[in-house]
């Protein structure tokens, strides 16, 4: 039932977050929405160009390649991360000695700086004296060093590194989900003669449905937006093979001059930012629509 008092209280509690959202979220967003229609290098006059930035976006083959790379990167990362983190969560949900230690170890990558870890992986995977190649050559598994960060394997390498960094995080979320499943369901299934695989298939998976839907959605968004480790390891190279859309966007907005000056492209960058947000939003919405059934616990 409607109550003025309740509305007032609610408004009061919402006030700080609404103000923060307005100032730090909506206000910059409105500027971005405006800049999309301008040519603006960060100084001087803003030149209104209408839909020019979007026409450029449509013919910008480098951007569309980066979108394609983003899908490959996200799909690869999800295919490794989700099953592996679920498996680890199920194993670490059992009680055995050292369980908490292992949970901490698997969660560790989540709390370590991505930049630091990526530099370490860059050293591990480099072609000329990287540890991976040295190890493989020592055991005569390869004759020549493999160019892990070369055009052929760079995407695979950055996917592996990204998956390594993400598994612990999703494992923890799955663990939280698993612990919310009542134990008596498993007990009665065991009495009825269900084996471990059957219990997993018919109890764990359906009961995890709603939380799994959210975890996968978060993982999809994170994979589509991820670029930090790629920036450190390959900077989108070689020859654009690991250029993902958020890295492409970052370079437009924050170019790092290595010699002669390079101008910011705030106008075109805003258009690209808008397009990337639409792409991520669309994919998330489609996923959410297609997985509505997961939200129902039987």
């Amino acid at each position: 039932m409607f109550s003025w008092r309740r509305l007032q209280e609610n408004s009061l509690f919402l006030f700080p977050s609404v103000i923060l959202t307005l100032v730090l979220g909506i206000y910059p967003l409105l500027w971005m929405l405006r800049f999309m229609f301008y040519d603006y290098p960060g100084y001087g006059d803003e030149l209104f160009v209408g839909l020019d930035n979007f026409e450029r976006l449509a013919r910008d083959s480098e951007f569309w390649k980066s979108v394609q790379n983003t899908f490959v990167f996200a799909a690869g990362k999800l295919l490794i991360t989700i099953p592996l983190s679920l498996l680890l969560a199920v194993l670490l949900n059992k009680s055995f000695r050292g369980r908490n230690l292992l949970r901490a170890v698997y969660f560790m990558p989540t709390i370590i700086s991505t930049a630091v870890i990526s530099v370490v992986f860059y050293i591990i995977f480099n072609s000329y004296n990287g540890m991976v190649n040295q190890l493989l050559m020592k055991y005569h598994l390869i004759d020549q060093p493999v160019p892990w960060l070369g055009p052929k394997y760079a995407m695979l390498t950055v996917i592996l590194v990204a998956a390594w960094g993400a598994v612990g995080n999703y494992m923890l979320l799955f663990l939280a989900g698993l612990q919310s499943i009542p134990q008596d369901l498993y007990e009665s299934a065991s009495i009825d003669g269900a084996n471990a695989v059957q219990r997993f298939r018919y109890i764990t998976i359906p009961m995890l449905g709603p939380i799994m839907q959210i975890i996968i959605m978060l993982a999809i968004i994170a994979s589509l937006k991820g670029y930090e480790s790629i920036m450190v390891m390959t900077d989108g190279g070689p020859i654009g093979k690991t250029e993902v859309m958020y890295l492409y966007l970052y370079k437009l907005l924050f170019p790092v001059p290595t010699g002669p000056p390079v101008e910011q492209q705030l106008g075109y960058g805003s258009a690209v930012g808008f397009a990337t947000a639409i792409i991520v939003g669309l994919i998330t919405a489609i996923y959410y629509f297609m997985t509505k059934k997961m939200n129902k616990v039987f």
Binding site: L12, G44, Y122, D235, G237, P260, P261, V262, E263, Q265
Partner: protein, 473 residues
């Protein structure tokens, strides 16, 4: 109910007021210089205390290699200048340009800024810099003569006004491992690109079993790699090094493409260090210091790097880079020259800032700066009297008769791949080089035309430009 609602509202109002007070305090503490100047001005007239007259100016730089020496100079200036000026030094890192942008947008910008070729034009366009012409009169008239050869349009002079003065520059050289050359039976550094390709092949053949390769560059950022290599080869061969044709005032990447063919040959020969596709400059230097790379091309910062950052026992040296066909039709371009310090247009202490700047540009300091090896002096009167820096390998990088400043190419933002990425793509995956070159010419010239139309860039063709007449010494 009303009472409760009132007390809650009151709490919110109090919280907001307290926050507002807090932010005021924070702001005032961030600007002690401004606050103290305004509040102490009346008392200064009364007591004429020395501290009230003190002018604090801020100097921001992203140079780290010389910071101990700069600190020493600033401390000397602070204790000895008669005008009671105190300079505060802030050393920033790679995010210098962004930090400066933020500082200007929040009115907290430094009074004096370190200017480099990568930021001067943008800072000028953003209105950050004050012209120095008015300061170069009267007793400072002599400075005009001292720096006259280093005053260049679109480097330190924009729209007819001067915004910085030269100190040092960077020369570009072929950096090579003498032992590996000798081991491969090569007696001298290459003078043509074909010789460079052959030398890289021989060094690789002689050393591959030990992980030694003939050539490398920091191809993780292809533009950075080419801007320290192809640029030098082109300018020595008589072409502007960033693909701009000074005679026509348009971009023409045809000479660039000729150089890339030889780079591709080295890649196809397997003479380039494996993994160079994602090599940064520091890992490259580490491998060179470990004796795994025959040669690469880079700036005169390298001797300092091998002295402090990657100390090495290998026998290495710097030599004039090869030209396309072995004939030097031009000079090796001295880069990052022409600018050092500049003054903030919005500074309230411009005169004090200029006094500090004039102190830094004094003959003694510029001479010592060169002698300590922090940069290579390009001001003729300083270069003539300064002793050579005592740093191993520096002798190969000193300004000689093959080096000179060049007119600059315009700053434009083309659509699509930059020339570095486009040519590197060809280098490692092939394609139609003519088509790539034509595409680059089209896109770069379209961006140039748009920039000229917008008034961002002025281009004057120099039909009589003769690269052989550019001489430094």
């Amino acid at each position: 109910m009303l009472k409760k609602w009132f007390s809650l509202s009151l709490s919110v109002v109090l919280a907001v007021v307290l926050t507002a007070c807090g932010s005021n305090n924070a702001e005032s503490s961030k600007e002690p210089a401004t606050a103290s100047t305004s509040s102490e001005a009346p008392s200064a007239s009364a007591s004429a205390s020395a501290s009230a007259e003190k002018k604090v100016i801020k100097y921001w730089t992203d140079d780290r290699h010389d910071q101990e020496y700069i600190k020493e100079l600033i401390s000397q200036f602070n204790s000895s200048n008669p005008d009671n000026i105190e300079v505060e030094l802030t050393v920033l890192s790679e995010n210098f340009n962004q930090s400066v942008d933020i500082a200007f947008s929040s009115n907290q910008a430094p009074d004096v800024l370190r200017l480099k070729s990568a930021n001067t034009e943008l800072f000028y366009k953003k209105g950050y810099l004050t012209p120095l012409d008015d300061y170069l009169t009267g007793e400072n008239e002599g400075m005009k003569t001292k720096f006259s050869t280093g005053i260049i349009d679109n480097v330190n002079r924009f729209g007819g006004k001067l915004y910085s003065l030269p100190n040092t520059g960077l020369t570009l050289r072929l950096v090579y491992n003498k032992d590996l050359f000798e081991k491969a039976g090569i007696t001298s550094p290459p003078v043509s690109l074909q010789e460079m390709v052959d030398a890289a092949k021989k060094i690789t053949e002689a050393g591959k079993k030990d992980g030694i390769y003939g050539f490398a560059l920091n191809f993780k950022n292809p533009k950075s790699a080419f801007d320290r290599s192809v640029r030098e080869i082109l300018s020595l061969s008589g072409h502007q090094g960033l693909g701009f044709d000074l005679k026509t005032g348009k971009f023409d990447f045809a000479p660039y493409a000729r150089v890339i063919e030889y780079f591709k040959q080295m890649y196809d020969d397997g003479s380039i260090l494996p993994g160079a596709e994602t090599l940064d400059i520091d890992p490259l230097r580490a491998q060179f210091a470990a004796g795994k790379i025959g040669m690469y091309l880079s700036f005169s910062t390298e001797p300092g790097v091998y002295k402090d950052q990657f100390p090495t026992d290998i026998n290495w040296g710097g030599a004039i880079a090869p030209s396309i066909d072995g004939t030097q039709l031009g000079t090796s371009e001295i880069v990052s020259a022409g600018t050092w310090l500049g003054i903030n247009e919005k500074s309230e202490n411009k005169d004090a800032a200029w006094k500090f700047m004039a102190y830094m540009y004094g003959d003694d300091i510029q001479t010592t700066y060169h002698e300590k090896g922090f940069g290579i002096a390009i001001v003729p009167s300083i270069a003539a009297k300064a002793k050579n820096p005592d740093i191993k390998g520096m002798e190969g990088f000193l300004v000689g008769k093959s080096d000179s400043l060049w007119p600059v190419s315009p700053t434009i933002t083309p659509e699509g791949l930059n020339y570095g990425d486009a040519f590197f793509k060809y280098m490692i995956s092939g394609g139609d080089l003519q088509k790539i070159t034509d595409d680059l010419n089209t896109r770069y010239n379209a961006a140039l035309t748009a920039a000229v139309a917008k008034g961002d860039v002025n281009v004057t063709a120099l039909p009589d430009f003769d690269p052989s007449k550019l001489q430094a010494k």
